[in-house]
Symmetry: D2
Subunit: 340 residues, 4 copies
């Protein structure tokens, strides 16, 4: 931690900060210049917060020199992490495509959609069984029954399957049925859930909270990593802004920013933020061009009959066309689409 | 639900929407004008979402006529709800003041602070025992030990006590030790937690999520109310915006907006969003002037030594001065400060 | 400016930054510690931007030690500035109330409204003659005719008058007819306009841009001050956020933040952001409680017939009631309402 | 305009709205159902605003059926508009690349950079001569001298040139020296400037305001189009959000949204929002993949010596590599890079 004093800070003000730090057991590397006095604090500064000092009289600035996360930081782990889920590797030179319906409505639709997308090259199959819904009156998903269908389809197609967990009490079901466990945007800072999932022997897909900064997102990943599970894939899914023509603003710039700050793989979900399928397709392409390690898109055999999020689901034909486009785009930056 | 077609919508487009609705079992009240065709949909439209129709060809607009929440809506419950916690009533003509340290650090500091603020008129005592922290390495609170101290102080001073619950597994502790259970901003859409708390026989303090719209907030309250617990107090605590001179932007306008949309009481926490005590004081006053049913402020006997959020904590003296100011402001709008 | 290097920065990286600075003619105060190397840059650092260094290899942080504005900073001018407009002083212990219609529609309505509000104690009369409208098809105001009516009313009631200027070519009209010239939110960074207004011999009311940070706002004030006009009053009018239940989010916390950073007076306009009169009243009270030097509210004799912004206009009776409330609130913090 | 009443609206409330509309000369198409009463308003509703009705008792919703802009709407003009600047056509199947330095610092650097980028295929050359700067003390550009250099380079390389105008009084200079006149983000709602530029015989590049909604942006384009100049190219350049790891959040989803709502071409500037060159490159690629009609990137021969925005400027070599990548990406969606 570094503390910079105001040009006109008094000796008393500087001494007060010094006393405070010594009382807490920290060493200070003092630099007194003509115009500026600067403290470099030596020791385990994780327990200090810059705000404490910003409030003190005479202090101009106080900040950490290092990120508050370590295991997820590229500084401490320069090489890209690759996460293996079933026979797919996420985070290398291959782009992984996750597709499937928003909600699993019944076995037939899941089978129908899965067959179609696997034929076009989807690498993993997604399907919601427990749905986070703003309103208590909305359809909340099929629960365990949905996960069973998903497992069955996964086994039949040979594709790993992904679904979102919402409650600690449901974790055993996910360990049984699912290959990649999704932590939804609303639970990105549900620390109790993160702590439990850290002990699970499955890969984790951590969505960005709808108003989470990139540093908060990486700190949530650090909760998982520091407590035992480093098989983490990040997923950008849009942030909340003033713009109302899309549900959320897909922040594609998080892809290169994460690549710079962290070694973890990052994929992009363009379906939820865009809300309309004709907008999902260009943003899926853009995600690949921006350097994402994968995309996750919703596909439905009959979007208008979908029980949730129909308008944003691609048709199977649209998905197939998209696959051809992103294959070329991947090639432009030296990547390929993964093959199971 | 109402669906409005574009002026140039074709018969086929309109017929398609009509077929879709009939297939789902809804009756349509059709209004065909010279320029506009409008559908009023009759039946239980809770399973429909406007987005489904917005995506269909020829549709100009689709929207609900009523809010998605009912029990928490003023439309269905015009009179103010009053929530009784211990001997304090929140939501009437009295303003409740909740105060105490951010984190309970030890018994002495809690006792020292509590004595001071009770003397100045605090109605409830707050103190964090389980702390939601962005970083896994930050101080996470004393846990059950903290709740025990809080209970002891509550009994000694005769003031009800408030603390935040973070995990379902901790709910029994809160039932045992705490009078008003706080649901933190990060958990506003932790639906698993909300469903459990709905069955608890304690009053609940539901903080607004850092990027929650007012409607989402009321829908989260509806999760509690619809599943059994209507003793809900809302708490505005700032939203996330681009402005960085404060931690969050305290959205005081949510106070009159909630008063218009809902019958639930609403209080304001100016401490967390403002981050610096000299900014907390004017915003606490402003909250009362805006019509809040109460305020919740952090007070510390020695803010510089606080383990968390020291800079935003008022001193006991500052709290005492604030009480005098808000008493006059309350009087300006026909209210008084509550007395235990 | 201070530059902090990463703990693992190489000699070459540090040397490169050093060479860059020397080539630009700056002296460096170097502090090399065991873990950290820090540069304090001596000289006129206004031409440097922190981003330049943040991009360089090995640099961890770079920041200014002082604000980018000077004349508007409290650091360089600790005492509150008081701006006199007609016989009203804004920025002292008196709260100034500006009121009037959004748009001047005709002479009668302006006269009717002005008589009513002056009777209740309004200190200045506002009225729009040139209206900034998102759509080119919306009512754009009466232009010079409106300003003439405003001047006439000002003379008749003895109250100074306020109106918004939108174009440099209209400045002479404002110099002729108006006492306080308003710079609208959309023009806060219209630097060409600011530079011209800096030479005008009238007090200026500078509204905050809808997504301006507080520092950008003070920098815009610095454009005025540094080029010759220091009679500046700031006006908070809401910022753009995700919340849609109000037009803008009134950021009342800017009041104490501005008081801390600057010596300039600040008033609050609750009418535009709230959009509905029943929400304007509590926020006007809150503005006074937060420490604003004044408020500016829209009043209309017949809000439903208003050509613009009717729903947010108070009736004359509501305005009169509000004046009584804020008089008490002002008293709670040792202030009074100004009397002309 | 459509007005929907609440299910429990009284006859008096409905009658009141009806009287109001009749008094203003509008016809009403009334639809009284069992549960709902709906008004369709016939006539020139441009002078009405939905808010007026939302405020009235008994009203549930009020909204426009058509956009507030016409000439810029795809509804009224289904085919893509192509804007010709020099020998480049923007808005067709070719992608236009605009490149050059942020600020024109002197003739040599402009010549050096221009030669390099033209060799790699840049279609237009950009360069700032009048710079909008938050601080009055920052470098404000070379002014007319810069424009002269730009014209000279344009003539020498045969490439059209682009620069930003800030003041009405400078328009004649731009008419003389520049081929495409840029309206900066801060001036998107400088209506006085828009009205003047509508009469200029040059193509216009309208940047999105930093917190402008897409509808506001199109309304600003409508100011230009409705007053005489329809040669408009839109430019996305990032919006302001809470995320601080980039300067602005580049909202690439505006590309497909604009394509849906409007027939105007849209290009993307990834340089300003990203702020660091390593982040600019992936976002430039993503813009092309998202369907943009062009990109505008900053290039500098020696970014570290740049007087403004050095860190975000690509080197000539990086620009050349980027051109190769976007050529492939353009091909993936059936487009090519323009050739002069």
């Amino acid at each position: 931690m570094v503390i910079v004093f105001k040009p006109n800070a008094s000796k008393e003000q500087i001494g007060h900060v010094s006393d405070y730090l010594h009382a807490k057991g920290f060493d200070i590397h003092i630099n007194e210049g003509k115009e500026l006095t600067i403290f470099g604090i030596v020791g385990d500064t994780k327990l200090l917060t810059p705000e404490t000092f910003l409030e003190m009289d005479g202090v101009s600035n106080a900040f950490r020199v290092q990120e508050s996360y370590k295991l997820c930081s590229r500084t401490f782990h320069p090489r890209n992490t690759k996460v293996r889920v079933g026979d797919v590797t996420i985070g290398g030179s291959e782009i992984a495509v996750i597709a499937g319906p928003c909600s699993i409505e019944n076995e037939e639709m899941l089978f129908h959609i899965s067959s179609g997308i696997v034929k076009s090259g989807a690498n993993l199959i997604r399907g919601g069984a427990f749905k986070p819904r703003s309103s208590p009156y909305a359809f909340q998903g099929l629960g365990e029954e949905g996960l069973k269908y998903l497992r069955k389809i996964g086994d039949r197609t040979g594709r790993p399957v992904v679904s979102e967990v919402m409650a600690i009490s449901d974790i055993p079901l996910f360990e049984k049925y699912v290959d990649l466990i999704q932590i939804g945007a609303r639970n990105m800072q549900n620390f109790a859930l993160l702590k439990e999932l850290a002990h699970v022997k499955k890969a984790l897909l951590l969505k960005r909270g709808i108003s989470a900064t990139i540093d908060e997102w990486l700190n949530s990943a650090e909760y998982l990593a520091s407590k035992g599970n480093q098989r983490i894939i990040l997923c950008e899914r849009g942030i909340r802004t003033f713009e109302q023509s899309t549900r959320f603003t897909l922040d594609l710039s998080s892809v290169p920013v994460i690549k710079k700050k962290s070694h973890l793989p990052i994929i992009v979900d363009p379906s939820h933020p865009m809300g309309q399928r004709e907008l999902v397709i260009p943003m899926a392409r853009a995600a690949v061009a921006a350097g994402a390690d994968g995309i996750m898109v919703e596909v439905h055999n009959c979007p208008e009959k979908a029980l949730s999020d129909g308008p944003q689901s691609l048709t199977i034909k649209q998905f197939s066309d998209l696959m051809k486009e992103i294959e070329i785009i991947a090639g432009a930056i030296g990547k390929t689409i993964a093959k199971n």
